[in-house]
Amino acid sequence: METDRKDGRTANQLRPLACTRNVLNRAHGSASWSQGETKVLAAVYGPKAGTKKNENPEKACFEVIWKPKTGQIGKAEKEYEMILKRTVQSICVLNVHPNTTTSIIIQVVNDDGALLPCAINAVCAALVDAGIPLKHLAVAICCSLAESGHILLDPSKLEEQKMKAFVYLVFPNSTLSVLPEESLKVRGEPMEHGLITSFTHGVMSVDDYIRCLERGRAATGKLSDFLRRSLQSQVQSDSSKLG
C-alpha cells in the first residue's frame, strides 16, 4: 500500500484543515475553510422575505451563487451551484422559515483540488454562523482512485489530474445524542453512514466505488470532529465576549 504523494502524505492523510467563522462584517453568517492550498470563503444572507419563482412557498428556499477565482461562471460552476443547493436543502430544516429565501455566496479564493467538498464544508460552517436551523451538519470529502486501485484521500489539483477517477462524497456528521445508539440506526447502519451527495468523475468498477465510500466514511469522522471542535471553541469565545 505504498503510494508516493508529492507532499509526503500517506494515502489516508488529509491536508491541514483551517476554519474561521464570522470573517465578514455585513454577512449574516460567514466562514472561510481551507484544506491545504484550497481555500473557499462562504457568506450567508437571509432569510429574506419571499421565495423565487417556481419554488415552494411553504418551505424555505435557498439560492447559491458561485464566484470562481477568475473569469466568468461556466457550466461546471452551474453544476456546483445546483449540487450545493440540493445538499443544503437536505440538511436544513425547511419548515421553520417558510416563504423566505436564503442566499449563499461562495467565493473561491484558491483552487488546489477537492474544491466542491471544500465549498460544502465552508457553507456548512457559514450556515451555523448565520444561525440557520439545521437538521445536522454535512461533511464532504474527495477520494481519488489511482490506476493501480489505490485510494488517495483529499487529493491536490495535480493528483486529481493524474488519477483515473475521483469521487466527491458528502455524509452527515456523527451525532452526539442521549438516545441509545441502536435507536438512531437506519436499517442497521448508523445515520452518518448514509450518503447525502455523490459526484463522480472517471470510470471505475462498482467495487472500487464501494471501497471509496468506506474510506470516505472513515475519514469524515475526523472531519466532523474537527468541524465540531472549531464551532464549539468559537461559540465559547462568543459567549465570553457577551458576558
Binding site: L195, T200, L213
Partner: protein
Amino acid sequence: MAAVNGSSDLSSEMEVDAFRRLFPLRYHEYHLLKSVRPDARKLGSARDTTLALGAVASADGSALAKIGSTTMLAAIKMEVMTPTVECPDEGSIAIEFHMPPICSPLVRPGRPAEAAEVISKQLSDTIFSSGMIDLKELCLVGGKAAWMAYLDIYCLDADGALFDAALLSAVAAFSHLNIPVVSLNDDGRIVLVSEDNVRGKLEKEPVNKEKRKLKLNSPPFSLTCILHKNYILADPTAEEESIMETVVTVVLDSYYQLVSLYKPGGPVLAHTSVIQDCVALARRRVKELQNVLNEAISDMEVD
C-alpha cells in the same frame, strides 16, 4: 384507491383525481404500499423505450429517443476544423442540451433553463470520461484537419428522467453517424465530396474512404432512480420527481463499469445496500437499452 385509507379523513369520499392533486405524496404512498406505481408499473421497472435512428435527414447522424413520454431528439453535424496545438491528432465534440419552452410548463422562453446547463455538463462529462469515442478517430490530416462534431439534443417533452433519455439519444445518434466524404483539393484544403461524385469518377482520392463510421467503445447507459423511504423507484416521471426529491443517477458502460454515480443531495440518505440495489437495477436496464439500441440499428440496416 380511496378505499385503502377508509376511515378518518376525506379520502374516502373524494374523487381519485382530486385526491391525487390535493395530497400527491399520500396518493403515491398508497400505491407504493401495494408495490405498484400510478401508471401500473412495478417499482423497479422502467417505462417503454423506443428509439428511431435517422430522424433528422439533414444531419450527419440523428436519433429520436422516447422513454415513456419523455422525448429527446439528438442530431450531429460534422465540420472540418484545425486541431488545437496541444492535441494535433484529435478531433473534438461539442455537446449542447436544449430545453425549449415547448418541453415543460416550468421552462419559460428567454434565459436557458438551469437544468439544461447542468444536464449538458453531465452529458459531456459522461461521454468523455466513458471513453466511448476515441477522439483520434476524428482526425483527418494530423495537425492540419480534424472533425468537430456538434451534438445538439433537444428535449421535446420533459416527463422525468431527462438525463437517461438524453444520453440514450446521444449514444444512438453517434451510432447512426455517417461521416461525410471529404478530399483534398489542389490548394491543400479539405472539401466535401457530394454524394454523386462518390459513385462517379473522382478527380481526387477521398481522404477518409474507409472511416465513414465511428467505432463506439462500450457505450454508457444510465438509469435514474428515486429514493423515498425504503422504496426505490426506477425511471421516475416528472410528477414523481416533483413529489419525491431524492434522485440517484447511475451510469454504467457495457462492461458494467461505473461511469458516474450522481446523487445531488436529497432528504433520503443512501446507505451502501441502497446504492447496490440501484446499481443492480441499472445493470438490468443497461441490458434492456443495449437491446433497444441493437434493434434500432438492425432496423436501420434493413431499410
